[in-house]
Symmetry: C2
Subunit: 326 residues, 2 copies
């Protein structure tokens, strides 16, 4: 079974970690949002790629979900002493990643090559791909004006009210090598419990990606895991964004956001939390099969359990597809 996961940062990294623990490396490709990437202090920072890679490498900070285990903050202390900006916390170990990535980019390497090199060094078995080697930048239309994502997210703590999103550069971006091929060959595409607006939508906005997901509908299924439980998110501003966009934050509305394959959207399946069981009917009405279970990933075992359920649900849907076709 060939599985492709679309992922943003912390929530996505957790599910992907579960998938990586139960699937052989060659069966799992992870396409990561890079529209959060930005330049800071002259270095290229790729928050979601690094969170996914650190998590898969087992070197993520288990307390924060982002950054690295055993991290120190000496460089930032110097920056602070010098009166520089410290709103984006760059740990010393983490800085090494940005230094070497920046050096390789300046040498003319592209992000997907660098990502492949780093994954190999970190002994990550799954294939991790940036959505694109081209620069795409999420701009948040907000009550404070247009904000670059990291400014909105980290500097302003997601406080400004959101009225829309724009992915600068996405129209001319091409999928990174391997992205379309892996989606075309996938049996199961998993949309991780990441922020639909700013983690998954940028990936889906890269020309060619939705088409590759929707190709070979009969032999493939697309399952999303809800990042919203009881109207709230575990982490991040997804629920707040739904509200400010005039949509009630709910698992069902995440399903509406992605749409059903039968109505020109993406989903054949949707996994929602046990606490949101009452929304199964609404999701069914969209023409999307649903599966209810505990989706909160507090422990490494939770990640594996959820990943197993995603795979089982995928197998079930694929079997249904095939029996429907035959």
């Amino acid at each position: 079974m060939k599985v492709v996961a679309l992922a943003g940062g912390v929530g996505g990294a957790k599910l992907v970690d579960g998938l990586a623990k139960i699937l052989p490396g060659e069966s799992l490709t992870i396409i990561v949002n890079t529209a959060d990437d930005f330049d800071h202090f002259g270095l290229r920072i790729c928050p979601d790629l690094d969170t996914v890679c650190y998590t898969l490498a087992g070197s993520a900070n288990p307390n924060t979900g982002w950054g690295r285990e055993g991290e120190t903050w000496q460089a930032m202390e110097t920056v602070d002493q010098l009166g520089g900006p410290t709103w984006f916390r760059l740990g010393d170990r983490d800085l090494g990643t940005h230094l070497e990535r920046t050096r390789l980019l300046k040498e003319g390497k592209v992000l997907s090559e660098i990502c492949h090199k780093f994954s190999t060094k970190w002994e990550i078995a799954a294939r991790v791909l940036p959505m694109s080697d081209d620069r795409v930048a999420t701009v948040v239309h907000s009550s404070e004006g247009d904000l670059l994502f990291q400014d909105y997210f980290v500097k302003y703590h997601c406080e400004p009210q959101v009225s829309g999103f724009y992915f600068e550069g996405v129209d001319s971006a091409t999928p990174a090598p391997g992205v379309l091929e892996s989606l075309l060959a996938a049996d199961l595409v998993v949309i991780c419990p990441s922020n639909p607006w700013v983690s998954i939508d940028p990936i889906l906005a890269v020309p060619g990606i939705p088409g590759a997901i929707n190709d070979n509908v009969e032999g493939k299924c697309v399952i999303a895991v809800s990042p919203i439980i009881q109207g709230k998110t575990v982490k991040g501003p997804a629920a707040k964004m739904f509200l400010e966009m005039g949509i009630s934050p709910s698992a069902a509305n995440v399903a509406v956001h992605y749409g059903s394959i039968s109505s020109g959207g993406l989903l054949s399946g949707f996994i929602l939390d046990t606490l949101d069981e009452d929304q199964q009917n609404a999701i069914h009405k969209l023409g999307i099969s649903s599966h209810v279970r505990n989706t909160l990933m507090k422990t490494p075992t939770d990640r594996i359990n959820l990943a197993e359920q995603v795979i089982e649900f995928g197998k079930l849907l694929l079997r249904d597809h095939k029996s429907a076709v035959s």
Copy 2:
């Protein structure tokens, strides 16, 4: 008494530290070589400026003479794991300086402004100036071809044989704000025991600087402290460079290198080590007054003692000048 010191890295920083401890801040200006500066991992590194500033701030590593006290190496460990270059050791605390400097340069600030800001934050009383805000790069003509200074110095451990030096960009470089003014107003110019070829010569190659040093010859004296003791240097490749340039490495030949003011050179005075006392006569013949003493700076007290002798010698020479004129 207004004192201006020309300095490179470790040796220069030690004498400058002694001078800073005995002179009021407003009496001391330090003009630092920036031809060793280079870009690494996308960051601007200024080794001599940082060595001078860390030393004056009391935060230099007392064991190495370069880098910072209490340094850690987490970023470099990451770079190493990723297969990146580690020949230039960037400590975590040190990295903060490069990050913030790079950020400010990208914001459009010039090096002298940044240096002023950092000096203020580090509570350095003396005025530290880069020789120029323009990029100048020392190129070493060597048996391995033309090498950028840091490649020669750090990457190749000074092993290639040297046949000459070239300061790329220096012809169009202008002295940083304050450099010419401080030299014109100086009573005493001190050429620190830094490498004549690659630490002091780049400063002297900036158009306008030699002229400003030689201006008002009667009211000023220029004293060099020999970086060579018994044909050797405490640190660095100066002696090796003299040899490879076909010149015997000796205190007297350092004096020849800078030349006497009476023969179109720079020096009115020269301080050499007690162990080289026999060379006083040769220096006298050049028309340069000399002073013999222990020049090795092993302890903080050695720095202060040498600085005091430099100042005393300077006062003596100035008195002689004045009595000769009157």
